[in-house]
Amino acid sequence: MSDLNKLTLADARDKMRAGEVTSVELTEACLSEIEGASALGAFVHNTPEIALEQAKAADVRIQAGNAPDMCGIPLGIKDLFCTKGVASQAASAILEGFKPEYESTVTQNLWDAGSVMLGKLNMDEFAMGSSNETSTYGNAVNPWRRTGDDTALTPGGSSGGSASAVAADLCLAATGTDTGGSIRQPAAFTGITGIKPTYGRVSRWGVVAFASSLDQAGPMTKTVRDSAIMLETMCSHDAKDSTSVDFAVPNFEAALTGDIRGKKIGIPKEYHMDGMPAEIEKLWADGTAMLKDAGAEIVDISLPHTKYALPAYYVIAPAEASSNLARYDGVRYGHRASLGKGDGITEMYEKTRAEGFGPEVQRRVMIGTYVLSAGFYDAYYNRARRVRTLIKKDFEDVFAAGVDAILTPATPSSAFGLGEMKDADPVKMYLNDVFTVTVNLAGLPGITVPTGLDAQGLPLGLQLIGRPWEEGDLLNSAYVLEQAAGFASKPAKWW
């Protein structure tokens, strides 16, 4: 059977159980695609030996019967996840050579279920970026191109390598992480599905920390069903992450009934941004009509503090990052600068961090340091945390009024060209997350689904935001949207 790498996760699961295909065959198909796809810059550390060993073990387990759904599925893992004995450097030069002596809880859950690791995936350095251009490995490239134009486009960020790899069928699915939109924006830019679960649903243990009160991991997949299957395996209560909740993990796939009759879908007026392209407005209106046709009740809602989400995020996330990244000091792991005669420990810290962190990471660490410094803590950090309370209350109010999910655009544009934002001021890049960042600040689950192409032939996505802990219900609404939109386009292979 050819093109095994193009299977969805659900189809691969079913075919392996039916004895039509083995995990080793699937894994070999993916490994050979990865080999030919270096132009995408998606995989940055390949682990073919580990993959084949895991695949063999998975085949034995599947044959024995009762193997978990994720057994034998070849995956790409974002470089932010610590994987035992395998380079894990958050796409930063400061973690050059770092091979953890431990495994992140999320990846351990996947390996326990029999999944296969193909390798580590490119990303923005420390997950700080929206275009995968801050990576020490170089850019990840979007497999999609504008019609009749071979300009290299961004796959989005920070999970750009994950998005590129899944969209190009290099793996069946990938892990991503999302602090302000880092799963959902790249998923939308590459025509795939990505879900950020409720804060606390997935353990953060062993995932390199960026902003701990916002970070959540989630799956990036070809379909909503695949996201449901993979998310369930990623979730768990974990004593090693004190913010991970001790709730039972539901069977998310079973929630995909395709029936959303009587559900209330909110359309927030504040998400009609000035200067939003007509194509995005139309995509949103079309998506609204699809959910209405499926029997949902559409209601206009207001989330009045939306406008303040990005500025609040750009206080809170850098503040937490400046604290989390203090550990990169050249003492315990990673890079240490070579020192001059007479240099002491302070020079070692300063030189190590100047050499090891890229410009965007340095900028955010310093902004975070500033907003937390004496005299500014109240004016910036505490004020941002108060605004965050108000942003969360906006959502609580609409959910209390009976809204089940909220439909918004995923991104303010389709994928842009690599290098196009190079000279723009950093704030312009931050605007990429305008529709996604509210969800992190409020700790809610959010999913993006591809629903159309723009005039240039590039994918566009819509976002659904759900009630806390109701990922099953959210996935079901996304499933209905996916079925109605019938998005089936794939990028033409040029790599």
């Binding site: 050579g97 091979k99 002596e101 409720t198 804060y199 606390g200 009160s213 004593a239 004190s242 913010t243 909740v245 001790d246 303040y308 990005l310 500025p311 609040a312 750009y314 206080v315 203090a326 050249g330 003492v331 315990r332 792991y333 990673g334 240490r336 020192l339 240099d343 002491g344 420990i345 302070t346 020079e347 070692m348 300063e350 961090r353 100047a354 340095q362 900028r363 310093m366 902004i367 340091t369 500033y370 410094s373 910036y380 004020r383 941002a384 945390r385 108060r386 605004v387 965050r388 309370t389 108000l390 969360k392 001021d425 950093p426 704030v427 931050y430 600040l441 409020a442 700790g443 806390p468």
Partner: protein, 95 residues
Amino acid sequence: MSIDKDTAARVAKLARIRVEEDALPALAEEFNAILGFIEELNEVDVDGVEPMTSVTPMRLKRRVDEITDGDQQDKVLKNAPDAREGFFAVPKVVE
């Protein structure tokens, strides 16, 4: 609130990131662009609003205070740029 060259130098020092003297003006300018954007938060009436401490209303779990881990000196030191005799080695700290 505008950040000048000296403030940028002070922030870089606090963050323990070496920034060369000639890079400071551009850095200050970037800070100002970002802080200008953040200033929008001043429009919000936050009187009587509690700063968020936890996005999910939860009590942190407690556990028995007992040793559950340890005796992994080799693993702890494995990735150190300079480890000697079972310790992390750093430039001289105390005269």
